[in-house]
Symmetry: C2
Subunit: 202 residues, 2 copies
């Protein structure tokens, strides 16, 4: 392949949308999740995030990066007000609906895009169509001052998932559950398992 080098100055000189696409792809494949919240006045909100990361297993913690004044604003406001949120894996059958939640709706995104809110007995709405649903309690907000992004950390309160994807060692076969991967800003991918490798020893 013909390798090209870009300096920091080259990247800063890119046209804005070109740079956004380019830099967004550099981290590699991303998780694709829908975050479900509800406002204090009872309006449901659903937003796609590709920045959900594992923070720790004990206590079980997950994090995500939010832009302060951008599309996911309602998500952040609702989490801080209601203290609860859900993370729902995007299944290959509804990735286009999930993507559509990134539009700036003034109404409930569930009904706008055609997905179904399902509270079960939790304090925030799950996506009924999702195979893997995680309910979290808000733990901490970390302000990343260098660019005013915000990391939200939540503690897992409950998990709903298909029994068939749980392997004997605790591994979850999320590919078998239909979970998609994302690259860049807006490209969706299915996956094909290569191999599960054992714990590495020298």
């Amino acid at each position: 392949m013909d390798i090209q080098t870009f300096s920091q100055a080259d990247i800063l000189n890119f046209e804005k949308r070109f740079r956004t696409q380019f830099v967004n792809a550099l981290s590699g494949f991303k998780s694709g999740n829908l975050i479900g919240t509800v406002s204090l006045s009872g309006v449901n909100n659903l937003a796609i995030f590709t920045s959900v990361v594992h923070i720790g297993a004990n206590p079980p913690l997950m994090g995500m990066i939010s832009r302060p004044n951008s599309v996911p604003r309602h998500t952040l406001e609702n989490i801080e007000a209601s203290r609860f949120f859900t993370i729902n894996h995007i299944h290959r059958s509804f990735y286009a609906k999930a993507h559509q939640t990134s539009a700036r709706y003034s109404v409930d995104e569930f009904s706008a895009v055609g997905l179904t809110p399902d509270f079960k007995d939790f304090n925030a709405p799950y996506v009924q169509e999702a195979n893997i649903q995680i309910g979290l309690e808000y733990v901490q907000r970390i302000n990343i001052e260098i660019n005013n992004t915000i990391m939200i950390i939540g503690r897992i309160v409950e998990v709903h998932l298909p029994n068939e994807i749980i392997e004997p060692d605790g591994t979850l076969a999320i590919e078998k559950a239909g979970t998609i991967a994302v690259s860049g800003l807006n490209t969706y991918h299915t996956t094909q398992k290569l191999e599960q490798l054992p714990y590495a020893k020298p």
Copy 2:
């Protein structure tokens, strides 16, 4: 599918390794990257991270989560001492070597696993075998106190990648570049593009 529900208490009662596998899979697909660093005494270090995330495009910033007293300790020490590091996408041809960097070596992981350090004109070693190589300068350390993990943020200084994967809008076809996705602790996947969707409007 037969949906099973797990409470927080169920998860805390899992056997430790089972819980680690289970919770690590809940965030969805992850990026798979090798972080290259060098100590002040000149010893190269290479470590696999599945927690690299996009932080921002302008300035171009990337982050990653590090455990303080675990495998990536040398990575963190080297970044704080030398101020530079590289992020290298794991290509499907060397995912097993990349995984092997997670073993606790007392020697240089490049030679231990059979990958080639390549400094070019940078202050940290790239993985020569990687198609997508990013050189970063250390910007900030954020301590996540709830579980003593650490977020490291770097500013992109230079990028090396194949010309053929750059699309007209700035999108990088990382699938075409052979970049893999990871699930859970240790499962590697190739991807198959479904679709790139346009900017969503209501």
